[in-house]
């Protein structure tokens, strides 16, 4: 497999789920993931916004993280796909943690930050030349830590 010049993969999905807080104000979290693969380098950009549905133009918290990682030339092996998936998941967990700490001073309680399944993450980053991974019926990868 070779990456030549331009991006060979660029997809994005949105993940939105209703959340509830103790003061009965309904809140939502928007999650956008955009991944580019270019010359063996993967760039993953995550945007997360947490806002009240009554004030959709004024997020309570907003966060963007960008991660770059190199993939080996022999990318079509399972190990490489696993490393990419693991990296994306950890980027997401770290983003959730930062968002969680941003929200804490607002005294929001009983909120939660939804996590897309492993399979959803992999669908975004998967290129035609990347090795397939096997997921269970819940979209979870067979190995998790």
């Amino acid at each position: 497999m070779e990456y030549k010049g331009l991006a060979v993969q660029m997809e994005a999905f949105e993940f939105t789920e209703d959340l509830h807080v103790t003061n009965a104000n309904e809140c939502e979290v928007d999650f956008d993931l955009n991944v580019k693969v270019l010359n063996g380098q993967i760039v993953s950009m995550m945007d997360m916004q947490y806002y009240s549905i009554h004030k959709p133009l004024t997020p309570l918290a907003s966060l963007r993280t960008s991660m770059k990682l190199w993939v080996s030339p022999n990318i079509p092996d399972v190990s490489c796909s696993e490393r990419v998936l693991y990296s994306l998941k950890m980027q997401h967990r770290y983003s959730c943690f930062m968002l969680y700490q941003k929200l804490k001073p607002l005294n929001l309680q009983n909120f939660y930050l939804p996590t897309p399944s492993d399979e959803e993450f992999f669908k975004v980053v998967k290129s035609q030349t990347m090795a397939d991974l096997i997921f269970d019926v819940n979209g979870k990868y067979i190995v998790s830590f």
């Binding site: 190990s79 969680y100 700490q101 939804p114 830590f145």
Partner: protein, 142 residues
Amino acid sequence: MVIETNELICSGIYGMDAGGEDGTFTTNFGFEIIDNMASSKIEMTYHGADNEKEPLAYLKTTLKFWVDEAHMNTEAVERILFSVKYQSSFMLFMLYQKFSGLNIQNYRLISLPDEAFYHAIGDKIAHVTLEFNDSGNYSFPF
């Protein structure tokens, strides 16, 4: 100045398909803070039962990050806990990939519960009380 140094050692014997014998997985965790810099050192070793002197896999990582010793509140301790948890998680992933390359199967890599890390971090930090569930894990909402 070192304000805290603790070590935690966790060992266990887990089934492993390397010659049909059991293996031993050991995690060693050390943590200290010097001049607002936290240093977390984790060692993981996996021995086959037939060779206790030469581990099948050995991994050691050191994570350093800044902390504010003067404001060691709940959020600060959460950041430390989150950091060492994912340092450990990353190492387990690396061990898993080492074993995959060796065609070793049916092994078990056990992560320490959050509470074990919390207690090992030390008394001066643990004055901030965090609550853990029955499994010893902290209730991060994600």
